[in-house]
């Protein structure tokens, strides 16, 4: 009996330790509506809401960490934080280095945006894209001239300044910039389907965390709360799950 109690106490103790462990959520904070830093200086956006909810379901304690996009994978594998939740498409190349949970956002076609005065042919000209994105590799192989930028915002600034003819990025990110540009910017050409769905990046050795987040994502898909979040942050979208 005594041994049993000690065993139970040991289990209780070790579970408290796992629960007290904080999961550090890495994000870029520069890609609205997925993630951005609001005026209060906090991480905000679709992925903030989603991440907090997933942690709540999986009973994890989570904190948010900002990291530049171009070093976001190296800093995950070296252990600075435990997840990448930054609008990252699940791709073959990335999957060789890190693991992904199942998708929490369906594959979203990318779109070109140029100045309103431009015509269709600009998509074969100089195209701005963010370094290390699926869009950058698409442009590089499409025959157009690629100019890369460290942050998503700079890609749009490059179109405005005339440095690039058009920018290729996720449709949802570009949408508000076009709407609020007062006619300066417009979508151009057809949408391009690149990249798979968006998932949470996890270290390959972190199978336990991956399983927890996967079941939390599934729970949010089946009770409709993920759909509600997508409709809230991406206006005009249909519920995908």
């Amino acid at each position: 009996m005594k041994r049993l109690l000690i065993g139970a106490a040991a289990i209780a103790f070790s579970t408290t330790i796992t629960f007290a462990d904080v999961v550090r959520m890495g994000t870029e904070g520069a890609y609205p509506p997925y993630n951005f830093i609001n005026d209060a200086g906090e991480v905000d956006g679709f992925e903030r809401d989603l991440g907090d909810k997933l942690c709540e379901i999986a009973e994890l304690e989570c904190t948010w960490v900002k990291n530049d996009w171009d070093s976001i994978i190296p800093n995950l594998v070296s252990g600075n934080y435990d997840t990448i939740i930054a609008g990252m498409s699940i791709t073959e190349e990335r999957d060789q280095v890190i693991d992904f949970t199942e998708e929490y956002f369906p594959a979203d076609p990318s779109a070109y945006v140029s100045l309103s005065s431009a015509d269709e042919s600009v998509i074969n000209g100089v195209i701005a894209a963010q370094t290390g994105t699926v869009q950058a590799s698409y442009v590089a192989s499409s025959g157009a001239t690629l100019v890369e930028f460290k942050t998503p915002d700079e890609t749009i600034a490059a179109v405005r300044s005339g440095e690039a003819d058009a920018v290729l990025a996720d449709d949802a990110f570009l949408k508000k910039f076009v709407e609020e540009s007062g006619g300066e910017l417009k979508f151009v050409g057809a949408k391009v389907p690149i990249g798979g769905g968006i998932g949470i990046g996890i270290r390959e050795t972190d199978g336990e965390l991956k399983a927890k987040l996967n079941s939390a994502i599934q729970a949010m898909k089946s009770d409709g709360s993920l759909n509600a979040l997508i409709v809230k942050w991406f206006d005009g979208r249909d519920a995908p799950y």
Binding site: V22, A30, P32, A40, G45, V77, T151, K176, E180, T205
Partner: protein, 295 residues
């Protein structure tokens, strides 16, 4: 924050600016200027210390010591700075964590490097993942400061070494003739005269250090450059309380003013120091002194 800022959409004009310039992100921007100054305040003495140690090691009569001195200065001066800035913080962080891993969790036998992953036990993480955000920031800042100090220490070592050699030999021989010991000669004759020769090189190094502080941004420290970029970029009304266009030019102009101000203060201070060290010295600077002061 001021009361009327509660609903940013309704405020206009001067009030809008008052609200805008006092958002949390702006406060972080103002604080980041202090981060830059703190880096300078921490790195400069540390680099001087490493510089002295390096210079003395290079001049040492003991072969292994002088070898260490020469290796340090040649290696750091020969490899691009940016490589060291990026390498040192990562290497130090992993070295600390690896050591802690071996000591704190001996029961974990699996390898630390698993494929791409660097995996240490939870207790060995530095800082612990339970630590507050400011602990992580401060830790990152100290790693960065150390990286800066190692790089600039090597340049300082070279300058100091050169300056020690530049002190006229006659001065040291005279000291010996007066019966001073080696130690006395070094501290009372050699070192005080060295400063006059070292200062032009060291002040140059200081200015380069000031200019190099924006590299903090590359190391993930949220410095002035990070915040200027983050605040200046286009803000859409859909997600931000204070929407505006591309204001990066304005924010980077602020950085220009800040760095020019630091340069102006430094140059004034350094020219005073130069005048002080030159006083009574048998150098060109020492003989030119009267005109120097009149300026």
């Amino acid at each position: 924050m001021m009361g009327f800022c509660a609903d940013p959409a309704t405020v206009e004009g001067v009030k809008w600016w008052m609200c805008y310039l006092t958002t949390n992100t702006h406060i972080s921007f103002y604080k980041s200027f202090l981060v830059v100054l703190a880096l300078l305040a921490l790195t400069a003495p540390l680099a001087m210390l490493l510089g002295f140690a390096g210079a003395l090691a290079r001049r040492s009569g003991i072969f292994p010591v002088s070898l260490i001195g020469h290796t340090y200065t040649s290696m750091v001066r020969g490899v691009p700075d940016i490589v060291f800035f990026l390498f040192i913080p990562i290497a130090m962080d992993q070295a600390f964590e690896l050591t802690r891993h071996k000591i704190l969790c001996p029961e974990v036998i699996g390898p630390v490097y698993q494929g791409n992953d660097f995996v240490v036990c939870t207790a060995a993480k530095l800082p612990l993942s339970t630590a507050d955000a400011w602990v992580h920031t401060t830790y990152g800042f100290f790693l960065a400061a150390f990286g800066f100090a190692i790089v600039f220490g090597a340049f300082a070592a070279n300058t100091i070494d050169g300056a020690l050699s530049a002190v006229p030999k006659a001065q040291l021989e005279t000291a010996a003739a007066y019966g001073m010991t080696k130690r006395q000669t070094f501290w009372q004759i050699h070192l005080p005269q060295m400063w006059g020769f070292a200062l032009p090189g060291l002040s140059n190094l200081w200015m380069i250090l000031v200019k190099a502080t924006p590299l903090l941004f590359l190391l993930g420290v949220e410095d002035v450059v990070y915040w200027a970029g983050a605040l200046g970029k286009t803000k859409t009304a859909a997600y931000f309380d204070y929407p505006h266009g591309d204001w990066r030019l304005g924010y980077f102009a602020m950085l220009l003013v800040f760095y020019l101000f630091v340069t102006w203060v430094s140059e004034n201070f350094l020219s005073r120091m130069q005048a002080k060290f030159n006083t009574g010295q048998a150098t060109i600077g020492g003989k030119k002194l009267p005109q120097g002061i009149a300026r």
